[in-house]
């Protein structure tokens, strides 16, 4: 059983999550409505109730390595049903930012890779080039033929254009500039 020791580090972590997310986790009743409705809660993926418990107990390492916030698709079901209206996808953002800042290895490398490739596409082109992201993801995860049959059927139906994958899209310097300005701001704190 994990018991609070009152160490400053425990309080620091909790305070940081509350301040950065704007979500008062101290109000959490641990009622479990969130995990009950959460689409990604399972035996392997603990879900929001357990994640909040980890944060409340100052279990920083566990919280930053909890797959729940990687799996979170920000569906908003937990917040909708939460008696004290905690927005968990805001908590997920804070944990993701902290984990990256502290160089914690992503415990869900596939989700991390997909999200990174998606953002890379936005940074380069200003818009996500979906088919390029799909192709890059399948290549990088060494599964080049994943979903091939669906892809081919859609091509034959004319629903997707394979040229989109290889076509040189124009770069959007505006957005690259915004990415770098955001990074600068974060570096300054």
């Amino acid at each position: 059983m994990n018991r609070l020791t009152g160490a400053a580090a425990e309080k620091d972590f909790l305070t940081q999550v509350i301040e950065k997310s704007g979500q008062n986790l101290l109000e959490c009743l641990q009622c479990g409505k969130c995990s009950g409705g959460c689409p990604i809660s399972s035996e392997e993926v603990g879900g929001p109730r357990r994640l909040i418990a980890e944060i409340l107990y100052g279990m920083k390492d566990e919280a930053l390595k909890d797959p729940t916030w990687w799996y979170c698709v920000s569906c908003g079901t937990c917040m909708t049903r939460c008696p004290v209206e905690i927005n968990m996808y805001r908590v997920a953002t804070v944990l993701c930012e902290m984990a990256e800042h502290e160089k914690v290895k992503p415990c869900e490398p596939d989700i991390h890779l997909f999200e990174e490739l998606f953002l890379k596409s936005v940074e380069q082109y200003g818009r996500a080039k979906e088919l390029k992201v799909v192709m890059n993801f399948n290549m990088r995860t060494l599964r080049p033929f994943k979903d091939l049959s669906q892809g081919l059927s859609l091509m034959l139906k004319g629903a997707i254009d394979p040229k989109e994958m290889f076509h040189k899209s124009p770069k959007d310097k505006r957005i690259a500039r915004i990415f770098s300005r955001v990074k600068e701001k974060e570096a300054r704190g």
């Binding site: 079901t77 917040m79 909708t80 997909f114």
Partner: protein
Amino acid sequence: MKVSYYPGCSLESTGKPYNDSTRQVCDALGVELLEVPDWVCCGSSPALKMNGLLSASLSGVNLALLEKQDLTDVVAPCPFCYRRLLSAQDDMAQDAELKEKVQEAIEADLAGNLKIHNLVELLREKVGLAAIADRLVKPLAGLKVVPFYGCYMVKPRQVTHCADPEDPTALDEILVALGAEVLDWDFKTECCGAGLSLSKTETVIELSGRLVREAAHRGADAIVVACQLCQANLDLRQGQIGKKDKKKYHLPIIYFTQLMGLAFGLAPAALGLKHHLVDPVGLLKKKGLIE
């Protein structure tokens, strides 16, 4: 009625039928959609997850461009884009520090005075059921459908201000106005697995599977959607869901705008109905909605 139009990245690619049918249906209803020039990606769930300021700033760029259009009303058919625009504007109204940071990052000022709509709400509330019924030339008689809202259009309640995020009715009402037989079901706003489609395909097969199974159990001919991500997951994963269940499902996943187009007598070929993996054309022919 003139409305600013923010299509979003998917509607230029895998969600093209949604884009095409939306434009035609709005045109038929006298809603002039003016696409916001030079719009950028809202960052979708990856930005929202990985970097809060970046996510707000990307929406900030779009909000600044939309404000320049000076039309007040904005519509985004993609529910995620819709929720990001709405949420970013609301967050900045409540948090002056965030607003300042975003304005600095995007090098533009924001007034924060836009009325941001999702497409279902715009058509249900601003256009109205009477105007939709007026345009009806081919009622969807005998077509049994379950309406699927997904998550982002309605949840969380505190962000979308949806009156009843567990049991919304706007899409039901539009479909009834079109003459379709709308079946009751409990999964209107359950999650399809969303952006985990590629990275956690098994999870998506499980979650979308629950929806397909229930819709089939209720005796639906089709699932009607208002989100290109829901469309993609339910359509592309249906074969794998069937394999798991040792059954062959054939539930077309049709955009509500495609059905509106058909009911309005628009040319089926231009509505992108042939672009779905689970082919809806056979069903629609059988029901006499396509020749």
